[in-house]
Symmetry: C2
Subunit: 348 residues, 2 copies
DNA sequence: AGCCAAAATGTAAGCGCTTACATTTTATAT
DNA sequence: ATATAAAATGTAAGCGCTTACATTTTGGCT
């Protein structure tokens, strides 16, 4: 029993199989799939019927090899374990999908060396473009990307001066606005709990924002009490206790994100401190967590979903040869209940 | 000015370039890269030097096309916006990376139709294997995967009866254990807040677990008050209020996950109900959030990270032609402060 | 009907890699 | 030294697709 015909066993049909089935050339099938307007209605139908009948779907490796594009976008985020990134990336992904692209995610654990490695990995894997968080990295990385002609969009930051494409927000300004509000409430001794500023430009900018506001208010920015730690509730708790042990004791503690702030809130509760009666606390990000806190958190709202969406759009534009503009999204302050007037000195 | 030599412009070196540079054939270079032990130490060195010198890195599309493998694993999760999945997937990814594989993540928004679509997409994109959440899906999906010879591991569930590979835990048993604890505390009227059970087998199993325990304790399982909703703090809040309006009013509310439980806790606080004095509340998952709750949450601890890790190992094994065993990871109960004795009838 | 540009389709050459098979080199035993 | 098996390397044929270029078909004119 000869079986010289295509071994219709279990294996996946190829473009050539479709071409045979439809009685056209492979080029025509390819065109039907990729630019349907370059073929007749009639052939399109014949080919598409064959496609359906055989259950054909293109082999992306082959397509990528032949076309020189993978339609895959890479994203490198500090961690997946944080709702903030998750939400923005989710929106990014949804937008990409609309454009026929797939997302490849890697995480760097907030480590610059790992991030560089991941950038290499993703480009080698064929990412056509990249989403990166923050702007701080070795210039060589940008050179590498430029040389390979791989567009990258920087997010979670806004960097209008630079010519790197960015879609994000102004961390410094956002935090400054919040700090102004704190100062207006009469606070003079301010504490701050932040992520490690050496490897995290967003964190650094936020701290700078506080200092900016202090300076403008006539306070000495060097008197800002800073606790650096990694983002976690537990660490926020510990850092808050340290700040409360300082003399003079801060009457307001501004946290680098909501997670730290929730930790601070927990510590405050354990220390029997009234919020905001005894101490005011602020956050950053406005995640859902903020609303469960024993006292609703005053924080900075960041439009994560829109950021992800716009970032995707910018990248698609860059991939199509356009030069998209940088986008700086506005943030806003969520004034809730953890920020209040500084306690009168005697009350302390 | 002729430039017949390789246009050493900006473009990326290929395997052939390396072969020329090293004075060997492309096959040898390929072997150096993929099975170094099939090559002399000497040639290996020569070739690797050339690789370094040229900054060569392989083109994955070409490799995938030629080898028929992409070294890419797909994962489809209900949502990225939930720390639970994030953590398990993160561990999964780390383990994959150790094995030279890349993760492709897609999300299904808890919708079965979207999940099927994503499965198609990912396999078409060349995923060599898949991580899926839960076991409930159209049998055709499994047939499709089997036909394409794509190994899949089911996680977040344990399904020893079935012959589908799974690495997870027993939702029903875990919730039953917790329910037993609730019953031992004298609760007779139980409420339950769960994700929609029609499309979520984990949620369904958990509810069944509660009923199992009720039955064994001589209670009528049909009296379990069930509120179905989507996972979110807000929804947990709303559902809890509904349950509190029921008569007889539940003295214990078991939630399908910690997020719902935190919402319930918030509502309880707003309703001026003492926890656990007036009502007991339980969660599931043991996420960090549980520890910030105004009252530390009694919940089920799930070893997410280990689950992710083992799932990756199982998949790698399957890819190497082995038949890995199903793994059922033990869960444990975190007894904290939201579960207490049922209030005496007069106290209500 | 006959001409011609435009539209549709076909032909075939790769894209960069892996791998079966052929050939050469090396090591081992006589 | 010589024969022989084993190890190392080379040769070249694809993997399934896209796309420049060549060829054929179509349809609007005169």
């Amino acid at each position: 029993m000869e079986d010289n015909a295509k071994p219709s066993g279990t294996d996946v049909p190829t473009l050539a199989d479709v071409a045979v089935a439809a009685g056209v050339s492979t080029a025509t099938v390819s065109r039907c799939l990729n630019s349907p307007d370059r073929v007749t209605q009639k052939t399109l139908k014949i080919v598409m019927d064959a496609v359906d009948r055989l259950g054909y779907s293109p082999n992306y490796s082959a397509r990528a090899l032949a076309a020189g594009r993978t339609n895959t976008i890479g994203a490198i985020i500090p961690t997946m374990e944080n709702a903030i990134f998750a939400r923005g990336i989710q929106a990014f992904q949804e937008e990409l999908q609309q454009n026929g692209c797939t997302l490849l995610v890697a995480s760097s654990s907030y480590r610059q060396d790992l991030e560089e490695e991941q950038i290499k990995t993703l480009t080698v894997r064929g990412a056509d473009a990249l989403l990166l968080i923050g702007y701080q990295r070795d210039p060589k990385v940008y050179e590498f990307l430029a040389k390979r002609k791989i567009p990258a969009v920087l997010t979670w930051v806004s960097d209008p001066d630079s010519d790197h494409l960015s879609v994000g927000f102004n961390n410094r300004q956002a935090m400054k606005s919040l700090a102004e509000l704190v100062l207006e409430n009469g606070h003079k001794v301010i504490g701050c709990i932040t992520a490690e500023t050496s490897a995290n430009d967003r964190a650094r900018d936020r701290v700078s924002g506080i200092r900016d506001a202090m300076k403008e208010a006539g306070l000495d920015p060097s008197e800002l009490l800073v606790e650096e730690t990694q983002y976690s509730i537990e660490n926020g708790d510990v850092a808050f206790r340290k700040l409360m042990a300082a003399r003079p004791r801060p009457t307001a503690v501004m946290c680098g994100n909501d997670v730290l702030a929730v930790g601070a809130l927990r510590a405050a509760s354990a220390l029997k401190l009234e919020i905001p009666g005894d101490v005011s606390i602020t956050g950053f990000d406005d995640i859902e967590l903020a609303s469960v806190a024993p006292v609703p958190l005053t924080t900075v709202h960041v439009p994560h979903r829109r950021m992800g969406q716009f970032a995707a759009q910018a990248l698609m534009a860059a991939l199509n040869g356009n030069a998209p503009d940088n986008i700086e999204l506005p943030t806003s302050i969520c004034f809730r209940e953890t920020l209040g007037k500084a306690p009168a000195p005697n009350k302390r």
